[in-house]
Subunit: 313 residues, 2 copies
C-alpha cells in the first residue's frame, strides 16, 4: 500500500481510504509516521466532542442523536467509538452500532469502532491520530465515544475540545463517577434516560457535588436528555457550541490543544524509547538475572536502561 496514495485518499475524503488509514492506526503500522506527516498540515479545523460515562448510560444512542443534530445543520460528522480489544466479543460491539444504521447511507456521516491492537501507548495515543485523520478528511465535527470509565478512557474523552460526561439513573451515580475521576474533566454534563425514575435526583446530586468543587471560569451545565426520543439533545448541541465559543474566546481552546499536542509528542517519544529499552533488556541476561535474584530493584534497572541508551547513542 502506497502511503502517498493513502494520504491523498484521506484528504479527498475517500471513505475506504479513511477506514484503511484508521486501521493503520489500530495496528500500529510502521507507515503511520509517513501517514501522520502527510495529513498533519491539513488538521485543526474539526470540532471534537468526547462522550464518556459508565457502560449502559446510552452513549451510543446519544452519539447517534448528535449526528442527527449535526446533519440538521448540514455539518459533516464522524463518530469514533473507542473500544479496548476483546477477543471474546468480535460481534457484540457491532450490535451497538445498530442504532447508527439510520445514518449508514448518509455520505456525510462516518462511523467507526476503533480498537487498539498494536498502537504503541494504546488508545491514549491512537485516538488523537485517528481524530486527525477524520479532521483532515474534512469532517466538521468528530464525536469520540469511549467504552468504560477508567482513567485511560477519561483521558481520551478529555483530549477533545468539549468533553461531555454522561450519567443515567441507576447506572453509576455521581459519587461513583467522582471516584472514577471523570467529573473534573467535564465541560458539559448530561443525565441521559431522563424519562426514567431517579433522573431528577441524579441531576440534583450532581449539582450538589459540583458546588463542592472550586469555582471555575466555565461552569459546566447539567442537562437532561432522553436520547431514544431525541428529547433534550438540541439543547445539548447548543451547550456544546456555547462551550466551544467560550473556549475559543477565552483562549482556552488553543491552550488545551497545544498542551495535549505536547503531551502526545512526549508520550510518543517515551513509547519509542520503551521499545528500544525492552529490546535492550531482552538481550541483557545479566541484568534480568539481577532482577530475578532481587539483587537490583526495578528503579535501578530502569535507570540503567536510560543510562545505557544515552551512552550507546
Amino acid at each position: 500500500m502506497d502511503v502517498d496514495a493513502l494520504v491523498e485518499g484521506v484528504l479527498a475524503g475517500d471513505r475506504r481510504m479513511i477506514a484503511r488509514a484508521i486501521s493503520f492506526v489500530e495496528d500500529g503500522r510502521p507507515e503511520l509516521s509517513a501517514l501522520s506527516a502527510g495529513i498533519f498540515p491539513q488538521t485543526g479545523r474539526a470540532a471534537t466532542v468526547g462522550l464518556t460515562g459508565a457502560p449502559g448510560v446510552g452513549k451510543s444512542t446519544l452519539a447517534a442523536s448528535l449526528v442527527t443534530q449535526a446533519r440538521a445543520r448540514s455539518l459533516r460528522v464522524a463518530v469514533l467509538a473507542v473500544d479496548p480489544t476483546s477477543p471474546y466479543t468480535g460481534g457484540a460491539l457491532l450490535g451497538d452500532r445498530v442504532r447508527m444504521q439510520e445514518h449508514a447511507t448518509d455520505p456525510d456521516v462516518f462511523i467507526r469502532s476503533m480498537a487498539t491492537r498494536g498502537h504503541l501507548g494504546g488508545m491514549a495515543l491512537a485516538a488523537p491520530e485517528a481524530v486527525r485523520i477524520l479532521d483532515a478528511a474534512g469532517y466538521d465535527v468528530v464525536v469520540i465515544e469511549t467504552v468504560g470509565v477508567g482513567q485511560a478512557e477519561v483521558d481520551v474523552a478529555a483530549a477533545t475540545d468539549t468533553a461531555v460526561v454522561v450519567l443515567a439513573p441507576g447506572l453509576g451515580d455521581a459519587v461513583q463517577m467522582a471516584k472514577a475521576g471523570i467529573l473534573e474533566v467535564a465541560d458539559v454534563f448530561v443525565v441521559n434516560k431522563g424519562d426514567r425514575e431517579g433522573a431528577a435526583e441524579v441531576v440534583r446530586e450532581l449539582r450538589q457535588m459540583l458546588h463542592l468543587g472550586a469555582a471555575r471560569d466555565w461552569e459546566p451545565p447539567v442537562l437532561t436528555t432522553t436520547s431514544t426520543t431525541h428529547d433534550g439533545v438540541e439543547v445539548l448541541w447548543t451547550e456544546i457550541e456555547r462551550h466551544r465559543a467560550w473556549a475559543t474566546e477565552a483562549g482556552e481552546l488553543a491552550r488545551k490543544r497545544r498542551g495535549r499536542l505536547l503531551h502526545e509528542v512526549e508520550a510518543l517519544a517515551a513509547e519509542r524509547f520503551k521499545l528500544a529499552a525492552a529490546a535492550r533488556l531482552g538481550r541483557d541476561d545479566a541484568l534480568i538475572a539481577d532482577l530475578d535474584q532481587r539483587r537490583l530493584d526495578p528503579y535501578r534497572v530502569a535507570e540503567e536502561l536510560v543510562r545505557q541508551a544515552a551512552e550507546d547513542g
Copy 2:
C-alpha cells in the same frame, strides 16, 4: 525523613512506616528509588489478589469478606483500594471503607486507599510498588481493589497472582464487561449480590460468553456470592487458592511475575525518559513552533526527541 529508617520500619511491619512508604509512592517522591532498593530483596512471598468490576458491584464489601476469610486462617492481610485522584471527593471514598471498620482494630489487617498524585506512569506503576511494600512488611495476602473498569484499572488487577472479576445483576452485564476488555484477564469470576433478581441470569450469560472464547489451560470458575452475608465467600477463597496452586504447579505464576516485572522496568525507564524529553521539548522553542505551525508532525518531533537524547548522552 531518613529512607533507611523507613525501610527498616516497613520490614519490621510498623504500620505508621508502611503508611508513610505508600504515601511516598503516591506522591512519586525522589526517595522512592532508595526505598525500592531497600525492600525489594524482601519481596515475593505475598499472594496477591486483584478485584475489579464496574462501580457498585460490591467490590469493597467483597474485599472485607475476603479479609474475614484470611483472618479465619490466621493469615495477615492487606487491602489496597486503588482510586484515581479526584479533587471533588476527598471524603466520599472514606465512606466506602466503613465496611472495613470491623477489621480496623485488628493489628494483622492493613487497609489503605491509594491515589496516584505524583507517581510517574500513574497507578500502573504505583500499585506494584505499593504491593511490594506490603509484601516486604510481611502480609501473607494483598488484595488490590480497583475503582472503575477502564483499561488502566484492568491492567492493575491483571498484574496480580489471581485476578477476580466481579459482576452483579443490573450493574454492567457480561457484554458490557467484555466491551471493557476485562473478561479475558479473569482467573475467577464472581457474580456478587447473588440474592438479587437476575443473578442466575448473569451467571448463565457469563458462562455462555466464556464458551465462545478459546480453550485455556485454566478454566475460570464462575461463582455466586452475597458479600453482605458472606454467602459464597468461603468458596471464593477456596477457588483463589486452587488457582494459585495450579499456577504455581504449571509454572504460570513464575512466568506471569517475571513478565510483569520486566514490563514494569521498561515502563519505568520510559517514564524517566519522558520527563527528560518533556524538559528538552519545553526548552526547544523552534521545535514547538514547528509543531504549532504544523511543519513537523507529532511522530517526527517524537523521533527528534529520541535522537537528541541519544546524541546528548
